[in-house]
């Protein structure tokens, strides 16, 4: 209890340190998520559009569920060694499955009558994807990005083990920062995850057209973000 009470003053006294570490962690996470998006989204869009890849999507989701993220990252670092690039790679491996499988499901599950109507009207496959499937799949795809981002931001704490920096530097260094420092940084990580989650929800509201938001609000299968 004492540690919790002291966490507040610790945050106040070491605000610039925490900010610096937060910055490191966010940058690492952002790079990992962006690379994962570049890998996962195009594959998800393509597989969903051609309605193939159910096996892949389901397998990826299951692997993601079966392996605790921290265990995965620890195993991975154990296998390939420490270093910023390796941590980054581990985080990418963590983030690609939810992004890819959610994107796939988002596109694959768009009502086939709608895509038939679109094709029947003379839209090219790319136009069907861009004008119909992507807008209608957007809420679900964003759920995948949220899941991935929260996973990455929280897991990135472990980067300290491998020399990647971030708030883990504080959490894993009780000798230097005391127990109150560990608790303060841990609370900080929790808050960061919530902030990232909300930031992506906000991003969805910014990029989604009014029509997409309306559909998202009415749909039960794709909870509005």
């Amino acid at each position: 209890m004492d540690a919790f009470l002291k966490a507040g003053p610790f945050m106040a006294e070491n605000f610039s340190l925490l900010l610096e570490k937060t910055g490191e962690q966010l940058l690492l996470s952002l790079v990992a998520v962006l690379i994962s998006l570049v890998i996962g989204v195009p594959f998800g869009l393509w597989l969903g559009h051609v309605h193939r890849g159910e096996f892949l999507a389901v397998s990826l989701t299951n692997i993601g569920r079966a392996l605790p993220s921290l265990a995965l990252i620890a195993i991975f670092i154990g296998l390939v060694g420490i270093g910023y690039a390796n941590v980054l790679l581990a985080l990418i491996i963590l983030a690609v499955p939810p992004i890819l499988s959610y994107t796939y499901i988002a596109i694959d599950s768009v009502d086939r009558d709608l895509t038939r109507a679109a094709r029947g009207m003379g839209l090219t496959p790319l136009e069907v994807l861009w004008r119909i499937e992507v807008p209608l799949g957007l809420p679900m795809a964003f759920s995948g990005v949220r899941t991935a981002a929260v996973l990455v931001v929280s897991s990135a704490t472990l980067a300290a083990v491998a020399g990647g920096g971030g708030l883990g530097d504080v959490i894993l260094n009780q000798v230097a920062y005391g127990i109150e420092g560990v608790v303060a940084a841990a609370l900080w990580v929790a808050a960061l995850s919530i902030l990232v989650d909300q930031a992506i929800a906000l991003l969805f509201r910014l990029v989604a057209s009014p029509g997409v938001k309306r559909v998202a609000a009415q749909s039960t299968s794709a909870p509005a973000v």
Binding site: R116, A117, G120, M121, G122, P135, G211, R214, Q218
Partner: protein
């Protein structure tokens, strides 16, 4: 625009479709000529190939053999995308894109054809007025989810007409509507069809709808064979085989009465005294009029125009609508 009546006929020449992995054809050697401006209903049981025949026209599926010509040009001479942009396509109400407003839905094809905004807007307004969603300003910014089934279907028709295509394909467009809305939308669509004169191929599983809507009806039977192609009157008076007869149902004789209206059968001489019969607008079908007379145990019905009685239709005239003079 709407006044333009560009319209092209469609010819099926031994059109055959065998789906991969099946041995029996879904559509077997269909030979049929649809004249420019005609509304042809494709009817038949599930598995009769009616939707297959429709989707072959705009190449949503490709022919296994044979050919289909639109205005003399083989559909295979155009790329599928180019072909489809010249063909209006409407399906059940689910075909509206829920994330687009009514105006955006109607504007989809004009937009990909590169029309400017003002022209698309003007076209959307014009079409909404045409399909009875008036004033257009009230509807154009709504979303499909804010409309009733009947209103959605009207938007679907407007969307299919957007780029003024010479041919319209409609796949059970009114299938999801309740009976009352369905009747209204059918009437409106018939009025639009008469106004714009587009060659229309209309798939339905409902023979009554086909009799009401079709200039001609093509009955397809299992195995994708054409059982009969003719006007509703031809089908009802001379079904080609047992299949068509059973498909038309037990009430074939009564259904035929739906091809006539009171204006066709009522005697025009002004009656001295009007009998206390039910009064019905002269546009009422003879079948409905007969039903009304029977329900009230009357000896006939009175045809009205506005508030005026313009003719008498006794039971005899209702029962023999094609021989009104002889009976009168």
């Amino acid at each position: 625009m709407i006044e333009s009546r560009e319209s092209l006929g469609i010819t099926f020449e031994k059109a055959t479709k065998v789906y991969p992995g099946t041995s029996a054809p879904a559509l077997d050697g269909l030979d049929m000529t649809i004249e420019a401006g005609e509304l042809v209903c494709l009817v038949g049981p599930s598995g009769g190939g009616k939707t297959t025949a429709l989707m072959l026209i705009n190449r949503l599926i490709d022919l296994s053999s044979g050919d289909i010509r639109i205005g003399g040009t083989s559909i295979n001479d155009l790329g599928p995308i180019e072909l489809r942009r010249k063909i209006g396509y409407a399906i059940q109400q689910t075909g509206l894109f829920p994330h687009m407003t009514v105006g955006e839905n109607i504007g989809v094809v004009p937009r990909i054809l590169g029309w400017d905004r003002a022209r698309i807007r003007e076209r959307a307004h014009e079409l909404l007025e045409l399909v009875g969603l008036s004033p257009a300003d009230r509807w154009v910014r709504r979303y499909p989810g804010q409309l009733s089934g009947g209103q959605q279907q009207r938007v679907g028709i407007a969307r299919a007409l957007a780029a003024d295509p010479p041919v319209m394909l409609m796949d059970e467009p009114f299938g999801a509507l309740d009976p009352i809305t369905r009747t209204t939308v059918q009437d409106e669509f018939l009025a639009i069809h008469r106004a714009v004169g587009k060659t229309t191929v209309f798939v339905t599983h409902d023979i009554d709808e086909a009799i009401k809507m079709g200039d001609k009806i093509a009955v397809l039977k299992p195995g994708g064979l054409l059982a009969q192609f003719g006007t509703p009157a031809e089908l009802l008076t001379a079904p080609a085989d047992d299949f068509v007869e059973s498909f038309l149902g037990d009430e074939r004789g009564l259904k035929r009465l739906a091809l006539f209206t009171l204006a066709d059968v009522a005697s025009s001489e002004a009656p001295g005294t009007t009998p206390p019969w039910p009064r019905l607008p002269e546009s009422t079908t003879v079948r409905a009029a007969l039903s009304a007379a029977m329900a009230e145990r009357a000896g006939g019905v009175l045809a009205t125009r506005g508030d005026d009685v313009v003719g008498l239709a006794p039971l005899d005239a209702l029962v023999h609508p094609d021989l009104p003079e002889a009976v009168a």
